[in-house]
């Protein structure tokens, strides 16, 4: 007996670009919140590294006031670096990343959404925690406010530039260490301007020029980094 032949036409579901980006963003946030420990680990690392400096160098108030902003910035940088490894890795392991690359929407925008999610779960908590640590290293109120402002503009740059490194080292055996080696030199300008702004504010100078430069770096990173990260993702996927 012949079974009746049925033709099934699959209507492609058209998803607009903002909707696709929102879907990626929401999914990444959901995944992060379901593995809550992964959320806390970079934060914990941030606090522990900051603790090392008074222990390792000097608990003197004068030293901490001078070095505090730098210590917080370096620790935030290292914490971001630590969290970058997982930016694409889980999606790479379970094949989600291949699906993302195959989407009709530009990969550039989807990468941007993924990086935004990464910043929301790592960069933003770091900024929220930094006033507390700022008080512990004896920074004054004005310095703490400026520090938070520089972190607010600077940590997205860290996430964006870091995404390039994470995409390049995807699926490699010693990916984590290699990622740090590739990315730290590229973080130097952000670090210099981040701490420089706080120092300028402490000297009583104007910070608008410094903040404008940091903003320029953010704009440059938003424009170019997803392009490089998307290209690197395609390369890493063709590798397997």
């Amino acid at each position: 007996m012949n079974s009746p032949v049925r033709t099934v036409t699959v209507q492609p579901v058209k998803v607009s670009l903002p909707a696709a980006m929102m879907a990626v963003l929401r999914r990444d946030l959901q995944v992060s919140f379901r593995q809550r420990q992964d959320l806390f680990n970079p934060l914990l690392f941030f606090v522990i590294v900051v603790t090392l400096f008074p222990l390792g160098v000097s608990p003197e108030v004068s030293f901490l006031q001078l070095a505090g902003a730098g210590v917080l910035w370096v620790s935030a940088l290292l914490a971001t670096l630590l969290s970058l490894d997982s930016l694409f890795r889980h999606d790479f392991d379970d094949g989600t990343l291949e699906q993302l690359v195959l989407q009709p929407q530009p990969l550039y925008m989807l990468v941007l959404a993924k990086v935004a999610a990464h910043w929301l779960v790592t960069g933003l908590p770091l900024i929220l925690l930094s006033p507390l640590l700022g008080v512990m290293v004896h920074l004054d109120g004005n310095s703490i406010a400026i520090l938070c402002l520089t972190l607010l503009v600077g940590t997205p740059v860290l996430s964006l530039v870091g995404a390039i490194g994470a995409a390049l080292t995807l699926g490699l055996r010693s990916g984590g260490v290699l990622l740090s080696l590739l990315i730290i030199p590229l973080y130097i300008p952000v670090l210099i301007f981040g701490t420089g702004t706080v120092a300028a504010a402490a000297d009583g100078g104007s910070v608008s020029g410094h903040m404008a430069l940091m903003g320029a770096m953010l704009v440059l990173a938003v424009t170019l980094a997803p392009l490089a990260a998307a290209a690197s993702l395609r390369i890493s996927l063709s590798n397997t």
Binding site: L168, L178, L181, P189, A200, L220, S232, N239
Partner: protein, 250 residues
Amino acid sequence: MPGKWQWFHKLGSPRWFYGIADRFNPLLLGSALLLLVAGIVWGLAFAPPDYLQGNSYRIIFIHVPTAFVAQSVYIMMAVAGAVTLIWRMKLADVFVRSVAPIGAAFTFLALFTGAVWGKPTWGAYWVWDARLTSMLILLFLYFGIIALGSAISDEKSSARAVAVLALVGVVNIPIIKYSVNWWNTLHQPATFKWTERPAMQMDMWLPLLLSVLGLYLFFTWLAFVRMQTEILHRERRTQWVRQLIQQRKG
């Protein structure tokens, strides 16, 4: 169909390049040694001493050429990286692979000679001067390229990943240089002003020019030899490499 772009298409053939390099190598090495010996001997033995620094300044005849080459090799790598990404030209990747260690070595030499010169002049081997620091960061960038290249086993994706990294690096170099300059003036105002040195005399400048040119030629020779080795390794299973080995043996 010989056209004016034929040389460009030929560059896609490692075998063709191997032959060309074989022909140019003796010429390159010869002229490099000639210029280097002339420039360095002139600079070290015959150029007048500096009125301020005495004889210790003479290290610039080695320091400045290495720093020149160290910086321009990264730019060349980025250009070759773009060629790899756009035209998938094998030879461009061979170039990047071969010159990255040379660039790192020259960067190290520039830092080392700078430190040797810094001791009598500044009183310290290492100063967190803007130039020194940005050269150190350049060295890190070279190490990154070398490390990434050796971490990816697949030849094609390794080539493209390294190309992307070189391009990312070259976009960042001006930003790094600018920020380091700015950082230095912030923390350490005007201890050493390179710009206020007296304009160089002709009999200091000419030997310097000779050694810069000589080192560029030497770099080209070194790059060609390393590229040839890399080509032989990559094409070791092809007919022409086997024939070449047979010829050399017999």
